[in-house]
Subunit: 740 residues, 2 copies
């Protein structure tokens, strides 16, 4: 470096520092006066100084050094290690134990018995490039909560196993009654696949990872590259968490030793048929044996042969599974730093610690960031800092089999949480790339404010600006790109399920957020023995810099909420978002009406028969009942009221008392419907729920949306009433709280 | 069958017959008085009675019994056999011979020389299930008109080898200068691939059939199913027919023995680099050897490994090709049946007879239908029928290497054809499924009238109704489906290139049509040794019923035109279609302007850099010059005039004289621009041409459209003038002819 160059750089640095100082001093923060805003930003800058990417890397390596699923010795050791860390950082910490059901495999067999024979390996091999891949104590490849079963039957290929795949199957004349279906991973949550198969009368279900979705089609395979090799298998839960998550034997209550328990065979969220995940190496001989109709284009994967659906009775499969159904301990680690002024207002932050195997990415990458936050806050605490509100940092056990640790803790502390929980901030696996943020939309402004001040490790713009750039480029048309370019900030996503926020938000109405980085960390390690430190450090976040970014994002959010004079809720964003959802629902209904009318005309006028290839015998689709007009006025009127109230509330920024703040964070509870959703009363939020058939995927205003999608019109009308009531409750509540 | 049932059926049959009679008697036909319409329909019914599916099958078997490419003994024998058939049917027939260049392979070598080695087989094996697949005299797998060459270089994968693929390649930093590219068949005409490669400086080009596009991905492979097996290769011409087709040494003139010939190395439509097609068996080791960037999703095929682009210099290929560049005889068979009243008005019907190998489908299936028409008309002639106008039935040689036989005949008889040719009706390969029809839009009404009276062999509705049903189902949205349902009749396509109509329509302005059935005859036999009778009878048109349907469609059209009192041109349809094209062009320009503005903003604001995966080093696209506003008024005003004239002309249906009829069929010549298209003056039609980079694919109003697509704005404005002039010439001409 030349002297001139050095001088110029120094000047730039000083200048940049000065600018940052000025900007920080003049910056407005929601929930803060100008003076306290500057202090808060200084605190966050001190917090940042405590974060170390190297330490995050060390934590990931340490906590993923052995298999540590729920109920294992490794799992217990990890919980204890986390407990010690929290304590060493100066937090009050304890392990809270629940007693929960968790099945592990006793016997696993998949074999093709005709027309040729093949016995599936069901085994991921150890690799010399992956130090932990040959360890003892790994859970074998399986789907937790499969039923025990020993079934033999004809094999039928059902694509992704979605309801619409079975509609197509019906048109081909192939049915699955008493047969074994083979479905691809992807396009729906894994648990939906055996559930839909069971609804259609299948006797068993095999799920495999097709190389098109998760394998060589996407990139070089492990260990050369990050993608799934032919032996890799995605383990995973098939508990029907869209009915309820947590211990299947103790819905709605904590799984304490004395809790009343259901008979396992009566648990409504457990399957009746056996299901097993397999690799594409094991799937290939099975699929190749199929005859019958050629699978339609959208069904075809990347294996090097023609995909057939089956039918005709030739390909036979034997599937035999049994499990050890034991009650096991579930160790949640709960750490607290009591608030100086409002100790009974809790800012909760969580990430699970249990993994399917080593779980360097899932969940340790997120947990390491959480622990780094706890360490940094602990350090500030030692220097004299105390949050205004209480911080509660949690490391959950049993997330993988069904969000068990978090759900049991939430159910066990439901009354207390409804009183005290200000916000729940979740994370899970984390990697290189773009900010992902979803949650309660009253928190959208906060998320935008927090993320505009955090620098992306690669591009050096803010993580908000990088995510905005991605939103713009992903927009499909020039028109949509233009709209995105003009938009200020980002929209946060709505929450479905698949991580520990579910019970907080959807069961109790605690305002929640979920953060994670990704998009440049693609690979095939998910829920396999290859989700290891060796894999992580090559393909996920090599410098652990996105670990620091996650610590900053979640940490700043927690501190910003904990110290706020007025809690940073912005109900205008909630109003705007819900207004968008209602527009979607009216459009969905109109489109469904239009397409149903046309489809029925096409069927009535024999267009399908005239167009069908007579050599292929594809039946026309069945006609559907006409779509009636529905009264959306209750929802629309409720939104008019919410518009008025939230506008007035935004203007009244002099309200800062403890009672008003409590009203702000309890407001989301007004959106709960005590009855819950149709056929799944555990889910009480009227705005957000995982889809009944999509699993992790969210359905917004779920009662109404799913009734429309599934063409239950009376129910749709009733659910419009419930959703409107909830919004009206919220409006009235906010009006009263603000004295409007 | 019970007696009751039999009686009911008989009644139905009689009733149906009665209805047909009534319907035929009252039916209006364009160009016919009511009385003559009935007679014409009776004639066509008599024609139909002469058609035999069994005989068509026998013709296909006989004429595809041996390899018969241009210049081969088999080809000469087929031409003589066709001549004898025409004569035996009572036609005046002769063989017209041209002397044309046609290269056959002397040496073919493709080998991977590093990092591993592999020598390509370049051979399709004989199959016991395919009786002709092991015959002597087959042309080896090659691309005719490849340059001679012996090159060694790094291999680069270029997807389909489209111009936009090279734009992406540039963003990856991989270039092809001096290298050998490997491109997939599909998404552009094969000749465009080496042409674009050559434009980018490549030293050689390999084209292969990926199993995703043409192989097991689509269905079971031959001989189990119809699709391309791992050894199958698509032969084919890479002559740059979009510059000009026919003998490359004699553009614009017939290749008579005395014609002046270009030096082959100066022929502007011949490549400078070597190119060879290979099978996916041969392509796999080459592609597998590639490293460098992973190919983007849209580039990936169905071979079972990760597709890489290459770069880095590791994968080396040696490509060595030499050819026997001989002048060979080209045998066109021309048969005439002289018209009784207007012998100098010619209704021309053609199909080629040369094949790459046996060509049961391509071209014999279409030729067999043509010969069946000639036989039927010959029979009617023996019974006393004579057409009002002269019928000219043609079987072309040398279509496969570059539409040679038809082009040389047309160039040789240009002056006579401009005077006499009323219409040219083309067909080529034919199979089971749906009517395909394209051509001059003034003939759209005729096509609709003809096809509404022909019964689909499978569904028993008219071939028009079946095609309409398909158009409806293929429409992408309910709104478009609704529009299609409301539409009367079908739109015919515009003609690009790829069969023998090109010189008639695009060089001379002879109104043209192209017919063929397909859509339920998919397979991988195209231009391979497996395009055989054995393949055809299993997978293409097992009962030869679509052969009969093609004879009916083309035969009725020919007879309808030949006997018409007033020629059945409907210039309203031309007006409506061209009006649609002009709307497309204005929309295309607006969209291009909008997308360019947004793209340039994204580039300027670094959105691509912010979003790019920093581990992948993908450069942002290059900014493009802003799209100016263009004056479409000359075209729009020309269309207003054409609207007025064609409306008036439709109303004046008392004009029937010979001179007026001649004006009707010569009208399309007004649409020619004597200068031709920019950089390809052979193509003179201002409405229809094959695309400069799409090859077979049509570009409508090509001078304007291609200038816009390629962002040459001055040229676009100039071409708008030429197209407007042409339309104005047509309006003035029709006005004068009709005395308006």
């Amino acid at each position: 470096m030349t002297t001139t160059h050095f001088t110029r750089m120094l000047a730039l640095l000083l200048c940049a520092g000065g600018l940052t100082q000025t900007r920080a001093q003049s910056k407005k923060l929601l929930g803060y006066a100008d003076s306290t805003a500057a202090l808060q930003l200084q605190l966050e800058a001190r917090f940042d100084k405590q974060l170390s990417s190297q330490h995050i890397g060390e934590t990931i390596k340490a906590l993923s050094s052995r298999p540590h699923h729920i109920g294992s010795a490794g799992g217990k050791a990890v919980a204890e290690e986390i407990l010690q860390r929290f304590k060493s950082y100066g937090w009050d910490a304890e392990i809270v134990t629940y007693q929960v059901l968790f099945p592990t495999p006793k016997e696993r067999l998949v074999e093709l018995t005709g027309p040729t024979t093949y016995k599936a390996l069901l085994k991921e091999p150890a690799l010399k490039e992956d130090a932990t891949s040959g360890q003892e104590g790994q859970l074998p490849t399986y789907n937790a909560w499969s039923a025990d079963g020993d079934v033999t039957g004809e094999l039928v290929y059902v694509n992704y196993g979605l309801p619409e795949d079975y509609e197509y199957l019906e048109r081909t004349g192939v049915n699955v009654k008493g047969k074994i279906v083979i479905a691809k991973y992807g396009h729906s949550w894994r648990g939906s696949k055996p559930k839909v198969a069971q609804e259609h009368g299948a006797a068993g279900c095999i799920i495999y990872s097709d190389p098109k979705d998760d394998g060589y089609y996407n990139g070089d395979v492990y260990p050369k590259g990050a993608f799934k090799n032919e032996y890799g298998v995605q383990r995973g839960s098939v508990m029907d968490i869209v009915i309820y998550p947590g211990d299947p034997l103790t819905p709605n209550v904590g799984a304490t030793p004395s809790a009343q328990r259901l008979d396992r065979l009566q648990a409504p969220n457990l399957l009746k048929i056996p299901v097993l995940p397999i690799s594409y190496h094991d799937a290939a001989p099975l699929l190749k044996a199929l005859e019958g109709p050629v699978a339609p284009e959208e069904w075809r994967g990347a294996l090097p042969f023609t995909y057939h659906i089956g039918g005709g009775g030739k390909a036979k499969v034997h599937l035999k599974l049994s499990f050890d159904w034991q009650i096991r301990p579930c160790y949640d680690v709960i750490a607290k730093l009591i608030g100086s002024e409002l100790p009974d207002q809790w800012v909760i932050r969580g990430n699970h610690h249990d993994a399917w195997v080593n779980g360097a990415s899932d969940p340790i990458s997120g947990l390491a960031a959480l622990l780094e936050e706890a360490k940094a806050i602990g350090e500030l605490h030692k220097q004299g800092y105390q949050p205004r509100r209480t911080l509660v940092y949690c490391a959950w056990d049993g997330e993988e089999p069904g969000l068990i640790g978090s759900t049991e803790w939430v159910e066990d502390h439901a009354a207390e949480l409804k009183e005290k929980a200000v916000v729940y901030i979740n994370s899970d696996n984390n990697g290189r790339g773009f900010l992902g943020a979803s949650g309660s939309h009253a928190l959208e402004t906060l998320v935008n404010e927090v993320t505009r001040d955090i620098t992306d490790p690669q591009t050096k713009v803010s993580i908000l600006a990088r995510r905005q750039a991605s939103d713009v480029l992903k927009a499909a048309t020039p028109k949509l790109k233009k709209e995105k370019l003009a938009k200020q900030g980002i929209a946060i996503g709505a929450m479905g399920s698949g991580s520990d926020y579910s019970s907080f938000l959807q069961h109790l109405g605690v305002p929640s957020l979920d953060y994670g980085f990704g998009g440049e960390d693609a690979g095939g390690e998910y829920h396999s023995i290859y989700d290891s430190y060796d894999d992580y450090v090559r393909f996920k976040d090599p410098g652990f810099n996105y670990g620091v970014a996650l610590s900053q994002t979640a940490g700043h959010t927690a501190l910003r909420v904990a110290n706020a004079v007025r809690l940073p809720f912005d109900f205008r964003k909630l109003y705007e978002t819900v207004n968008g959802y209602v527009n979607e629902l009216t459009e969905l209904t109109s489109n469904l009406r239009e397409s149903t009318t046309i489809e029925n005309q096409l069927i009535r006028e024999d267009k399908y028969q005239l167009t069908a290839d007579t050599a292929k015998h594809l039946l026309p689709p069945a006609a559907k009942a006409a779509v009636p007009f529905i009264d959306f006025a209750p929802l629309q009127n409720a939104l008019v009221a919410l518009d008025t109230v939230t506008l007035a509330l935004s203007a009244k920024n002099n309200l800062t008392g403890a009672a008003f703040n409590k009203a702000l964070y309890q407001a989301e509870q007004q959106l709960l419907n005590d009855k819950g959703l149709p056929s799944r009363s555990w889910y009480k939020h009227t705005l957000y729920a995982p889809g009944f058939y999509t699993g992790y995927g969210v359905k917004t205003i779920p009662g109404v949306r799913e009734a429309i999608e599934q063409r239950r019109w009376t129910e749709a009308q009733e659910q419009i009433g419930f959703a409107a009531d909830a919004i009206n409750r919220l409006s009235a509540y906010l009006k009263a709280a603000a004295g409007l």
